[in-house]
């Protein structure tokens, strides 16, 4: 198993916590910890993905710096999370992208957006800065769109599935058909309600500062449901196009539009709020190396919704060409960065929470336990 600096630091920190245990009421991490006497890369990766980075256990820790134990659970686990996202990436060598995540996501978006603008303006020619009767598809033919997004989408799906499978196996989950569905539902519920951003008693987490607050939980809900609605809008559009032969553009009162506008608003309010409180939070407390990854993901989500809503507004104006290229460029970057950026956290966190529900019921450690060699 891995023996990196991040793994060693997380093990050091949790060994102290396991002798102290004052924080056991805060969240799942400490309850999972108490089921174990020793820590290894597997169970630390598991606990890292259980940690919601709420900060409560840092502000309440009697051993926080400047104490010589220099204890910072959220930072140790956030940095380990970023490392293990890379470990579980597929194909393996792409995992390196997590090291300088902010940088490569930024470069990629610049590259793709430029490519879109140059590509479309070359194909559309003089008409690029014109209004278009059949709006979007007048600029980029529908078939081109399908070809680009279809192939990228297929690759992303495969990469996500491969990473998730690897994580699933490390978390010792059985094949999906023999899962305990009651526990799965518990995990899903804890994920959707962001239970462990509640501080333990529903008072809220210590973010951005020591005072318990519900702001991160709320802004994440906006982000999450905003994203889901946008996703639903796109799906609805696709279905209407193919199944009902109703191609875009749609009226204002139509399923894709309503979902898209609501989702877009959520995906503006959420990431803006998260960025705002992030700027106020002290970086040392929440982990240092992971910041670029968090911020680039937030900015990408924000750009997606902003360009999407502007595009809707300028559809019948001369700006439609440039806005469409911008929006599609951003969306394509978001797509491509899904397996190699912060987006992956949703899946790993969901899986970790399901495993926790199972461990809690059995009152027994599952992840990272030595399996006796088969004779």
């Amino acid at each position: 198993m891995r023996l990196t600096d991040k793994v060693n630091e997380a093990a050091r920190v949790l060994t102290i916590c396991n002798a102290c245990r004052y924080c056991e009421g805060h969240c799942a991490v400490f309850q999972a910890m108490e089921l174990r006497l020793e820590f290894n890369a597997d169970n630390l990766d598991y606990m890292a993905n259980l940690c919601h980075n709420c900060g409560a256990c840092y502000h309440n820790c009697q051993y926080a710096p400047p104490h010589e134990f220099n204890l910072n659970v959220p930072a140790a686990l956030a940095e380990l999370r970023q490392e293990n996202y890379g470990v579980f990436a597929w194909p393996g060598f792409m995992g390196k992208l997590f090291t300088n995540n902010g940088l490569w996501v930024t470069l990629l978006s610049v590259l793709i957006i430029t490519a879109f603008i140059v590509g479309t303006s070359l194909t559309v020619g003089e008409d690029f800065f014109q209004t278009h009767d059949n709006a979007f598809y007048g600029i980029i033919p529908h078939n081109n769109l399908v070809a680009i997004f279809g192939s990228v989408g297929a690759f992303v799906a495969i990469a996500l599935l491969a990473s998730i499978t690897k994580f699933w196996q490390t978390m010792r989950l059985p094949n999906p058909f023999s899962l305990d569905w009651g526990r799965v539902m518990q995990g899903v519920k804890d994920a959707l309600t962001l239970k462990y951003l509640d501080g333990g008693n529903g008072q809220g987490c210590s973010y951005p500062d020591e005072t318990p607050s519900m702001s991160r939980r709320w802004f994440h809900q906006f982000t999450f449901w905003g994203f889901m609605l946008c996703f639903a809008a796109t799906s609805a559009g696709t279905i209407m196009h193919y199944a009902f032969a109703l191609p875009a553009p749609y009226d204002f009162i139509s399923l894709p539009k309503v979902l898209g506008v609501l989702g877009g608003i959520g995906l503006i309010v959420g990431p803006l709020g998260l960025l705002h409180i992030k700027a106020k939070a002290t970086p040392d407390v929440k982990g240092k190396t992971n910041k670029g990854m968090d911020v680039s993901f937030l900015v990408l989500l924000l750009l997606t919704s902003i360009t999407g809503l502007i595009l809707m507004a300028v559809r019948d104006t001369a700006l439609v060409g440039i806005m469409l290229s911008l929006h599609l460029g951003v969306v394509l970057t978001l797509f491509l960065s899904m397996p190699y950026g912060k987006f992956i956290h949703g899946f790993y966190r969901l899986i970790a929470l399901i495993v926790f529900a199972i461990e809690k019921e059995k009152h027994e450690a599952i992840v990272g336990v030595d399996i006796p060699e088969k004779e």
């Binding site: 060994t15 102290i16 396991n18 002798a19 102290c20 245990r21 004052y22 924080c23 056991e24 009421g25 805060h26 309850q31 108490e34 006497l37 409560a56 256990c57 502000h59 309440n60 820790c61 009697q62 051993y63 710096p65 400047p66 104490h67 010589e68 134990f69 501080g199 333990g200 008693n201 008072q203 020591e210 005072t211």
Partner: protein
């Protein structure tokens, strides 16, 4: 602090729970309050930072507590540990008023831990702070700031002036601060090695202080010098056996070693010196501090074998391990032959029986100078592990005498009209010796509230 003369209604010295609670109570009564905390902001809150629970009396379930813990039972518990060394009037009042502690704290933002079924959860007698004492402090300081209490850190009281047996001012960082009432809540003197040496001799050099380095007893000394009545003796302290590798100060709870009753303990000469299985560890750990303090170099080593692994709370520092006893002896710097002799004599003396760590199983040794009376299993299954032990001082008992209004008594029999004391600095009035889990925080809470209210009443002429 600015240079103009500072004048307050109520001045509180010490920023642990007793101090901040007194300050809050006084401010809630409308007094102009200043809190002086000797430690920097990062170390505020003294030993309170390291606590985990308090012990409220209650009839019927109370917040996170189940069942009933009534005055009779509480009183019996207190009598058992103090062996009668208490002031009954003050003690009974403390027990009764402890009922209000949880609600008082919850109303000011302090979180308690709901039942989890976790290891620390006692459920009936002790209410655990979510995240520990630092969470309690953070919430109370936030509340205090909102009330407009003027809080100063790095503000060690270095002198105090009395006039006609009444408090006049204190000196902090070469500046005098005046107030109508004064609350002394600056903890004990456990971090003052020189003072400990006066009572214990040079062995005190090897003591580890489990709590804050800022509880040096300066204020306590000043009060005694100005005629306060002393309670308790300087050599009395709560001393437990903890991991010898713990930091000199502020190691807190995690340095405990919970496997003494599962193994044997030897001193520097590789010889056993006390019955490791006398009683359950939580009932015995507080005598082991003194036992280890009495050994050469104030050090001991607990030795267990593979059978004991995993059946006690995981210690914070890794054990030294080896596959043979002589190898282990070399690793921990003991004479290999003596240790092997001690262990084999012990092993040979173990009598058959059914080992059960959940009860006093009576599995014992026979014929040794020092027998083990429970849980005596041979140390014979490698790998062997050793943890080093040293005395860890939790708190001291010496303090100033007070009335039920937390008013400080003078040695000449008078009452000091405007000085009130709360917390560890007066806990010896109630807890003359021994210890009951959660009693320290309970005394500090009850007397903190009384002291704050009385100090405000005095200052505001109510």
């Amino acid at each position: 602090m600015q240079n103009d003369q500072k004048n307050f209604d109520v001045l509180v010295a010490g920023g642990g729970q007793a101090g901040i609670i007194a300050a809050i109570c006084a401010a809630e009564k409308g007094a102009k309050v200043c809190l002086l905390e000797g430690a920097p902001r990062t170390h505020r809150g003294g030993n309170t930072r390291h606590t985990r629970n308090l012990r409220p009396m209650h009839i019927g379930p109370l917040s996170v507590l189940s069942g009933t813990y009534d005055e009779d039972e509480y009183w019996d518990d207190l009598m058992r540990v103090t062996k009668g060394k208490t002031n009954e009037e003050l003690a009974r009042m403390t027990l009764r008023r402890s009922t209000e502690c949880v609600e008082w704290l919850e109303k000011r933002g302090v979180q308690f831990q709901p039942p989890l079924g976790g290891t620390l959860h006692l459920g009936r007698t002790n209410a655990f702070f979510m995240g520990g004492g630092k969470q309690l402090l953070n919430a109370l300081y936030r509340h205090g700031e909102k009330l407009g209490i003027e809080i100063h850190y790095d503000a060690m009281v270095s002198d105090i002036e009395f006039e006609d047996d009444a408090f006049k001012n204190v000196t902090v960082n070469d500046q005098k601060i005046y107030a109508k009432s004064f609350v002394a809540a600056a903890g004990g003197f456990e971090a003052n090695i020189d003072w400990l040496k006066e009572a214990w001799g040079d062995v005190a050099e090897n003591f580890i202080i489990r709590g804050t380095p800022y509880n040096t007893g300066g204020l306590l000394k000043l009060l005694l010098k100005n005629g306060a009545e002393q309670i308790g003796e300087p050599d009395q302290c709560h001393a437990v056996a903890i991991d010898g590798r713990a930091p000199k100060f502020d190691g807190g709870i995690c340095t405990r070693v919970d496997c003494v009753s599962l193994g044997v303990v030897v001193n520097k000469n590789a010889e056993r010196f006390y019955d490791e299985g006398e009683d359950f560890w939580p009932k015995r750990y507080a005598i082991w501090g003194r036992l280890v303090a009495a050994q050469p170099d104030q050090v001991a080593h607990v030795i267990i074998d593979q059978k004991a692994k995993g059946s006690f709370m995981p210690p914070v520092f890794p054990a030294e391990t080896a596959n043979t006893i002589p190898e282990l002896a070399n690793k921990i710097g003991l004479n290999a032959e003596t240790l092997e002799k001690t262990i084999s004599e012990y092993n040979a003396a173990v009598q058959p029986g059914d080992f059960d760590h959940t009860e006093l199983d009576g599995v014992h040794t026979e014929g040794l100078d020092v027998n083990k009376t429970n849980w005596a299993r041979p140390i014979d299954t490698p790998p062997y592990s050793a943890y080093c032990l040293r005395p860890g001082i939790t708190f001291t008992y010496l303090g100033v005498a007070v009335t039920d209004k937390a008013q400080m008594k003078m040695a000449n029999g008078a009452l000091c009209k405007n000085v009130f004391a709360a917390g560890e600095i007066m806990a010896g009035n109630v807890l003359g010796q021994g210890y009951l889990a959660g009693i320290g925080m309970t005394i500090g809470n009850v007397f903190g509230r009384i002291a704050g209210n009385e100090a405000a009443n005095h200052a505001l002429n109510r």
